[in-house]
Symmetry: D2
Subunit: 298 residues, 4 copies
């Protein structure tokens, strides 16, 4: 099977490698001439069988994805299919699918998990779209997903949008899991009683209730830097955690843990918290409690 | 009516002033010779009518309060009463009451609210202990409490311990209220759309649902320093917020808001958060996300 | 001064009464013939001086407000002004202002706080829009706002949208404040130690740090029903709490307290929590912990 | 090697089986005559080599553990060792160790994770105490822990108390992890878009960032009951989650996620929430918002 792959960044390039290792003939396109297989999107499209094309889009979510989808709407033919595998918002999928459907072009959205480890371990795949299209694309999904039973690394989650919705929830859970381990790590560090913190986390790797791949990664990080001295506490958020909380609010679903994890990241990036300045000011006003003057530049 | 008052710090000295203005004859004792009325606790006790003495203790909670109560147990006579008005844990009250009861000495615990404004506005009082003792001490409470109906600034909340329990809950609520205003303040500051943030808070002073004394204090703080530039975001906690959450956990009461307010204070005092270092390390491990190296000394 | 007022529901009717008591000549329109002053929006417009008209819109946010603004765009003349006082999202204000500006019609957005008590106490007002228009409408605002200094019940918060943004934040704070009192109330009820819970809350009315109008209302509610036996724990949310959290997420502002208050409302309306079913199922799986079978219909 | 094992409940009996399978000669004692190997604690002690005895205590934490330790203090000899493997608070370990040390008896505390699956998979072990004693007891730990490298299922975490402290933190993390998955599950269920929720969770089993043993268990639970219809949302808490939050408060460690998970369990067990009744009452007071009357018996 031959497919096109648009976007050969860190994720896309690894996926090309894994697809090829899995027997899929991949024609990759990227604006970066050092990594691309073809010179243009037009050339990519021309290299695939008309009316049976699959073009996997793996570029940054938002305007760039929109641009590629728009371009493909003009280049592809009825019967072709776009597979959108980026970190897009699930509501964009409905728009993409409708725009492409006007040209007779099919659409699948895929949530892809696995990060830089996916090349080796395979990628967890959550797919939304028409069942017949999913069926036709199965060889591609099978090449990407981890070895083992198909249903342990792949799901046809529902209609268009379901793949990215599932991926969004996956990432929201990820925020909560990471924060739970992080709070536990801090509590182990807080008292002198546990004198081997990295060893304690490592001892949870087998047999315990909290064993997981994220735990394995934290153990690995602590082996490299036992007190995390080399790393700052500044934590970015990618947007999917925000979507998850927005979505929960829209559906009136209480999300105390995932939202707390998100807010902890926001706080981590603040130099001085305006809110806590206000609390300090209030304490000073009513209690005459001493406050610390602001540090220069804080 | 004549009473003894042990502890003439910021709170105690103000209370002596208000009591005297209210017609109570106060004999104050403090280790600080510049503020004390008498040279010793013995002298204070000797200056009061045996068997009818009221000695109000207003010293730091914990070991110092314990020491004064112990001393008074040896100095007072049956029929005398100790009134403990510090920020003590309510479980200490039962111990104090039992120890004094062995000497025939009565005990009342009083939660006192009002901070530095109490001198002028009066102090909110929550009292625990025997009804007959409370009745006898009413003139003292009436002199301390705000003007207006007695039940709007004073309550006999229950048996020994109820006064400090009520004060603990009062302070827990206070944490939540302050954080709610603080979060709102930050959100007003976050966008350019509201160009008069201090004026907006001031406009909430009358007629709105959020009007309160704490709001008035925040307005005052912003009049002095419109962007809170002169104040750091480092916020102490006094212990009563911690007790409140501990107590909730003991009673299986969910306390999401008050606990979040407490944790925000903890976070405000951290140089670098070990938990967020762990999250950053995890993101680096699974996604190859770039991390910021720790700043020197962070 | 004469103005038009569209929408004579609970809020609008009370505002008409207060405006008239304050010397403003109000022509009110409502679809309900029992409360309206005129038969149609056209008639309302015709009754006001062309090019100097002020029409206050006080109808449900969303589609209904949009409809009235659209209608007024067709009926009003250059120089007239629409004042939008409903609970609209601040992003709608920019759209309304732009649409009206095409017809030379001015626009002010006003956040109004005070609920059913506003008739008597006056309404807290937060206004967004052009300074000259605000100046011209001041007599209207002065009639509506509480007595006392103007800046304690009124603010020109910024350009178009600032009024509703400020009101949104006001309501978010309100969620946090209410939840803080509520958690404290539950903690007072949780132990037998405080035997007079309503009296304890009442005693906080004066002198204490937590005194506020919301506290006064809770005291009033407890006087009517000391254990809140007659009321269910089902709590609606109006939408502005959701907007507040969405807005915070958009601005990367941590909002642990206000979001917790919002989530507590979501939880209060759930029959059975799917999340907690999942936790129960997990405990059963790993620990053999007994679970409760679901009640019929739960 | 021969050891004594006191307590043959669900956990203890499974541990006896695994120890025997691992070549350890176990003499078990339980008050239940159907499961015990010996008739009394005296008989158990008599069956072991004096001065070299290891007695593993696996009974409910608190008073029962205390009683067994007290009894063993009277029965054992200098050179013997008590291994306390229950879910005890780490502060009890210091007391037990000191009391036993007066008789020349050694003490190790062990946090044991693995639940009902430990029999098959092995138990994660966190040990506190003297290094020489830990060394001597290694054959026992090796028989209990999972297969694989020793340091992936066992750690000598520190001095006395470190084992139970580590286990407490482990369980706190567990609360957070479970709640994160549960919130995600609810969000998947909340919208119709993902039509195969159990399949989506199963597809996360391999390759994804959120893969873990707890996820595997949730997948298993959903295979048995795809919508969790047979299970109620009432969730018990074992005490260790409470200790974790108490400990964090004592150390001024912010714990938003783990505390939120704990509070969610508290809420799950409330018929009607007093706090939310208070919020409902407040809304009714200020806004005239309709409230639901309390259901009979609620």
């Amino acid at each position: 099977m031959r497919i096109g792959l648009v976007g050969l960044g860190k994720m896309g390039a690894n996926m090309r490698t894994r697809l090829r290792a899995g027997g899929i003939d991949v024609v990759g396109y990227d604006r970066n001439p050092e990594v691309t297989d073809v010179a243009s999107l037009e050339e990519l499209v021309a290299s695939l069988p008309e009316g049976e094309r699959f073009v996997w889009v793996m570029v940054p979510a938002g305007a760039i994805t929109q641009g590629v989808v728009d371009d493909l709407a003009g280049l592809l033919s009825p019967g072709d299919t776009v597979i959108e595998g980026g970190n897009s918002h699930y509501l964009d999928d409905g728009k993409h699918a409708a725009a492409l459907a006007e040209h007779g072009i099919g659409y699948l959205d895929v949530g892809v998990s696995g990060g830089v480890w996916g090349l080796e371990n395979g990628y967890g795949l959550m797919v939304g779209g028409d069942a017949a299209l999913v069926e036709r694309a199965l060889p591609v999904f099978d090449a990407l997903r981890p070895e083992g039973p198909r249903d342990e690394g792949f799901v046809h989650a529902g209609a268009v949008g379901a793949g990215h919705y599932a991926k969004m929830v996956h990432n929201g859970i990820e925020y909560g899991l990471m924060q739970a381990y992080a709070e536990g790590f801090e509590l182990l560090e807080a008292k002198d009683i546990v004198t081997d913190v990295p060893g304690t986390l490592k001892a949870w790797s087998r047999g315990t209730v909290v064993r997981s791949w994220l735990l394995d990664l934290l153990v690995k990080a602590l082996e490299e830097d036992p007190s995390l001295e080399q790393i700052s506490d500044w934590v970015e958020d990618s947007g999917e955690g925000r979507w998850t909380v927005d979505e929960a609010i829209d559906s009136a679903v209480p999300l105390p843990v995932i939202s707390a994890a998100l807010f902890a990241r926001f706080s981590s990036r603040q130099g001085a918290s305006p809110a806590m300045k206000a609390v300090a000011a209030l304490r000073h006003q009513f209690g005459g409690h001493s406050v610390r003057p602001s540090a220069p530049g804080a």
